[in-house]
């Protein structure tokens, strides 16, 4: 009997973490997501960002607009509390800041942090699961709508990023929210609202 209790307890403990971190994602799920997102040519969305950082007394909130056009155009524009943002076009970029009135061009390849940011943003906008699976171990937290948990494979990224939580829209065509959880417990949540798919975007946005 004692032996039975111990084995049952071990099984329960072993099952616990699996349930918390989800089950490994199947290739079929990625294929379905890629197929659904494959029809997306443009995206435009409002976003609301909440930063839960221990170095701040309160949650840092900001909002703005996000635009994406295949294959490699992206605009991230914060409207409050500080008007600023950047545009990415292939390897080139341009950033601006309303308070300073400064606008500057840059090369993504020369700015490691922007390189990291652009890789993430493009990967989610394009649903590039080939790249994501190379960079992260992916587990499925829910299938309808799809919710994923990603843990970085590289030690360098794992040094500051613990995991990502991604929630897709009900139709699976775009990302509804992203959470970046850091090693020290801090996290950032970005919610995308009023998302419009395949809407014609003005050329001067990029």
């Amino acid at each position: 009997m004692t032996r039975f209790i111990i084995i049952t307890a071990l099984l329960l403990f072993a099952a616990g973490p699996v349930a918390a971190s989800g089950v490994p994602a199947s290739p079929a799920l990625f294929e379905a997501l890629e197929k659904t997102a494959g029809g997306v040519r443009t995206l435009s969305s409002d976003f609301v960002q909440e930063k839960h950082l221990s170095m701040f007394k309160t949650v840092m909130s900001s909002k703005g607009r996000f635009y994406f056009s295949k294959p490699d155009l992206l605009r991230w524009e914060m409207t409050a509390p500080v008007a600023s943002g950047f545009v990415l076009k292939g390897d080139k970029g341009r950033r601006w800041h309303e308070r300073t009135g400064r606008t500057e061009n840059f090369l993504i390849s020369q700015e490691p942090v922007m390189k990291l940011v652009s890789e993430q943003l493009f990967a989610w906008a394009k649903a590039d699961f080939a790249w994501l699976r190379k960079e992260y171990r992916i587990a499925v937290l829910g299938e309808s709508p799809v919710a994923l948990r990603l843990e970085p494979r590289s030690a360098a990224t794992a040094g500051f990023l613990n995991h990502l939580l991604i929630a897709f829209s009900a139709d699976g065509r775009y990302v509804r929210s992203v959470e970046l959880h850091e090693k020290d417990g801090d996290f950032t949540r970005i919610r995308f609202v009023n998302t419009m798919v395949n809407k014609q975007l003005p050329a001067d946005l990029f």
Binding site: K51, M55, D91, P112, L161
Partner: protein, 805 residues
């Protein structure tokens, strides 16, 4: 008259007359053993042969130059197309690196070690130990209330951006960007001037080229290994580099290979020409089957000398073996003298051998003295050459005087080919002397115009492709291989770093940061770091840290920062700072760079600093650093000049000493000033005319011209001895014939080198062609023209001259 002779060789002839089989068998055995030993000889195509190996500054400079960061590396520039596509370039660089690694050619690098956050964390942590007085003044400016407000606002806005999560740690530990100061120190570690890092890859400033470096175990001077290495690299390039891109390799291996292959091609052409020409000369002048033995003697000597060297040294310098041709030119005249004397016959061959041995031995002694002096040289190649040549000459004497007389049968009735032509060849002596004097005067005047070029590069083969690759490397990456080196030397790392600190203080004001590469700003000595750390603590403990704490709390509150937001930063202002160490640098990913600039050997540590190698700066530093014992400046451009000067000094000393010794020998042998002067006529004529004609044609005199001058002295003195012995002691007409035929074969054999493409062989060829080409007529025509009755006993029988009135 009685001809003086050495009876030893006469007796030896008689002894072996009855034991010829034994003599020939023993000779063949020695040659066979020599050939076997020669086959085991390894050739060392090494510039070390021409560099002093004593304790001179040149030798030490050469050893130190090998420690420069890029000296032993192969540098591969991968060039993309016209359009800048950094991603494609990096992908191609990675593919090529992978292919090269698969080819097992050594350690392949496409960028520095992964510079993740650990490097910047380390830099931030040790900053207090690196901060100088000037740095603290900058920090005071960066921590005013206005700066605090501005920096916190920037930090807050950065944290709101998507990039914020990657910058959080930095803002927390360094809200006022003190690390900018540390990054400024990194500017002194830029080993590749026009390089930027893109995703940890070396990429050129214009983004169109990527750099790969290979650390190979193949020695730069190993031509066979270089061939295999470069073939593997070519194959990897062909397999991995996509169309539209190209890869260029620059390394010492390519120079070695180009030089070795050029020499091989040259030797093929020159040897073919020489053999045909020498054979034609033999056919024309010798016309006998026994002439084959004369032809074989020098070849056998080469085998014997090389075999003897194989027993003495495991590796023979290529330059020594290359001088084998010179040896051929010297030793064939001994065989020629024996041949013509024996062919003329008419007397007991033993007596003939005894008679002819005298001029042959005198000539050989003069040549042995010339080469003997070279044993004193500081150049290992020269010393080896001396042993090689002296062995060959001794062997040639033995074979020519002991073996050869048994192989040559007298010609029917003692008639030699072209005897009539040789006897009836008469020129007016006044005309001969007039032309000679005018030529000598003209050449002596023109010789003053000759320019010496001691640069080793002047005798090295550099193809246009190689030069273009080198130029392209400098255009793309800056002058990464051509820096002058400053070594701060100490008995341990601390002592070397302390001296390096003093050196940096001395020169940092003279050279802009981007052009000066030094570890001193990032890794000062422990003593200086302690001093910096104490100064840092004092600086902040004067109330500054408390004020800054208040300012951060006040200004941070406006943006919502918590009170403890900057605690990690504030703790660095009051805690004893950690020291920067070489282990810390390695852990932070800078190990390769640190190892490039710190060279540790048993009992001595050298810290390397790189500066631009301009003559002006090198001159200034040479003067300024005199009072900094332990610091040594090695300029690559100045090194070439110094080597040249050392070699010229070596040879000048050698030429002087040889002249004195040869003159001494002549005095002992001839004891008559007039005869001695006569002997010197060919050598003086050859040397003056060679220098004069080169001056007239605007040819520079390089180290190989100097080396070939030895040959002119050796041969021309022999010609003089043969001719004067004949004229004064009556050894008949064979001397004329020997001088003429051996001179012609020397010209054919070595003068053909003038057609070589390789600068060193071409230089030897030109020197021999001019020196021997004028020395032979001087021996054959001028010596007889200068003879008078009082000096000689049989002057009326002088060949080529009218009888004196």
């Amino acid at each position: 008259m009685t001809v003086p002779s050495f009876t030893l060789f006469e007796r030896l002839y008689r002894y072996f007359s009855a034991r010829r089989r034994l003599l020939f068998g023993a000779t063949l055995l020695v040659i066979a053993l020599s050939l076997f030993a020669t086959s085991r000889l390894r050739i060392q195509e090494d510039i070390v042969a021409m560099l002093p190996d004593d304790s001179s500054s040149v030798a030490e400079d050469f050893r130190l130059m090998q420690l420069a960061p890029f000296t032993k590396k192969l540098v591969i520039t991968l060039k993309g197309g016209e359009a800048e596509d950094t991603e494609a370039l990096i992908a191609a660089a990675d593919a090529l690196a992978q292919e090269l690694r698969s080819a097992d050619i050594g350690l392949v690098t496409t960028g520095p070690a992964d510079l993740d956050g650990s490097f910047f964390s380390w830099l931030g942590a040790v900053l207090p130990s690196l901060s100088t007085n000037d740095d603290l003044a900058l920090l005071a400016d960066a921590s005013t209330p206005a700066q605090v407000q501005s920096r916190l606002r920037d930090g807050y806005e950065q944290l709101l951006s998507p990039a914020g999560w990657a910058l959080k740690g930095k803002i927390q530990s360094d809200p006022l960007s003190f690390s900018d100061l540390a990054l400024e120190k990194l500017r002194f570690l830029n080993l590749i001037p026009n390089m930027r890092l893109v995703r940890n890859h070396f990429v050129s400033a214009d983004g169109r080229s990527a750099l790969l470096m290979v650390d190979s175990s193949v020695s730069m001077t190993d031509s066979a290994g270089s061939r295999v290495l470069l073939d593997r690299i070519d194959a990897a390039v062909a397999a991995a580099v996509p169309a539209g891109m190209n890869a260029t390799v620059v390394s010492g291996h390519r120079y070695t290979l180009v030089n070795a292959e050029t020499i091989k091609r040259d030797l093929y052409v020159v040897l073919t020409l020489s053999i045909v020409a020498v054979f034609a000369i033999y056919l024309f002048f010798l016309r006998s089957m026994s002439a084959i033995f004369v032809f074989l003697v020098p070849s056998a000597i080469l085998a014997i000398a090389s075999g003897a060297m194989a027993l003495w040294v495991p590796q023979l310098f290529a330059v020594t073996l290359g001088f084998g041709g010179v040896l051929l030119g010297i030793v064939d005249e001994y065989a020629m003298m024996i041949y013509f004397s024996c062919r003329q016959g008419g007397r007991d061959p033993a007596v003939i051998t005894g008679e002819v041995s005298r001029p042959v031995l005198f000539g050989a002694m003069a040549t042995l003295l010339s080469f003997g002096v070279m044993l004193l040289s500081s150049l290992p190649g020269q010393r080896q050459l001396a042993v090689y040549s002296m062995t060959g000459i001794v062997a040639a004497l033995i074979v020519s005087l002991v073996v050869l007389p048994h192989l040559i049968k007298p010609a029917p009735e003692g008639r030699l080919p072209l005897a009539g032509l040789m006897r009836n060849w008469r020129l007016p002596r006044r005309a001969v002397l007039g032309v000679w004097l005018v030529l000598l005067a003209l050449c002596a005047w023109q010789a003053t115009k000759i320019r010496f070029n001691g640069d080793l590069r002047a005798v090295s083969m550099v193809t246009p492709e190689l030069q273009e690759a080198e130029d392209e490397l400098v255009r793309t990456w800056g002058d990464m291989r051509g820096k002058a080196l400053l070594f701060a030397e100490g008995k341990d790392l601390e002592a070397a770093l302390a001296l390096n600190d003093r050196l940096f203080n001395r020169i940092s004001g003279l050279i802009p940061a981007g052009e000066l590469v030094s570890l001193a700003p990032l890794l000062p000595s422990a003593a200086l770091q302690r001093e910096n750390g104490e100064r840092w603590l004092n600086f902040w403990q004067q109330g500054r840290a408390a004020r800054l704490d208040q300012d951060l709390a006040r200004e941070g509150q406006a943006y919502g920062f918590s009170k403890a937001a900057f605690a990690p930063f504030l703790s660095t202002l009051g805690d004893a700072p950690p020291a920067a160490t070489i282990e810390g640098l390695r852990r932070a990913g800078m190990g390769e760079l640190a190892d490039s600039l710190i060279v540790q050997s048993p009992g001595v540590v050298r810290v390397l600093t790189l500066v631009p190698d301009t003559p002006e700066l090198v001159a200034v530093l040479s003067e300024d650093l005199k009072d900094l014992p332990g610091v040594r400046l090695v300029s690559q451009s100045r090194f070439g000049d110094n080597v040249g000067r050392a070699i010229i000094h070596d040879f000048t000393r050698y030429l002087g000493l040889t002249s004195v010794l040869v003159l001494g020998l002549l005095v002992i042998v001839f004891r008559n000033p007039a005869r001695i002067l006569l002997v010197l006529v060919p050598v003086v004529t050859g040397m003056v005319c060679m220098l004069g004609i080169m001056g007239m044609l605007g040819l520079e005199f390089n180290i190989f011209n100097i080396a070939a001058s030895i040959l002119i002295i050796g041969l021309c003195v022999d010609y003089g001895i043969f001719m004067v012995c004949r004229l004064t002691e009556g050894t008949d007409h064979v001397a004329n014939r020997s001088v003429l035929v051996s001179g012609l074969t020397t010209l054919a054999g070595l003068g053909a080198l003038a057609l070589a493409r390789h600068p060193s062989m071409h230089s030897i060829g030109i020197t021999v062609l001019l020196g021997i080409g004028t020395g032979i007529p001087a021996a054959l025509l001028v010596i007889p023209a200068l003879c008078n009755k009082g000096m000689v006993d049989n002057v009326d029988d002088v060949d080529g001259m009218e009888p004196k009135k």
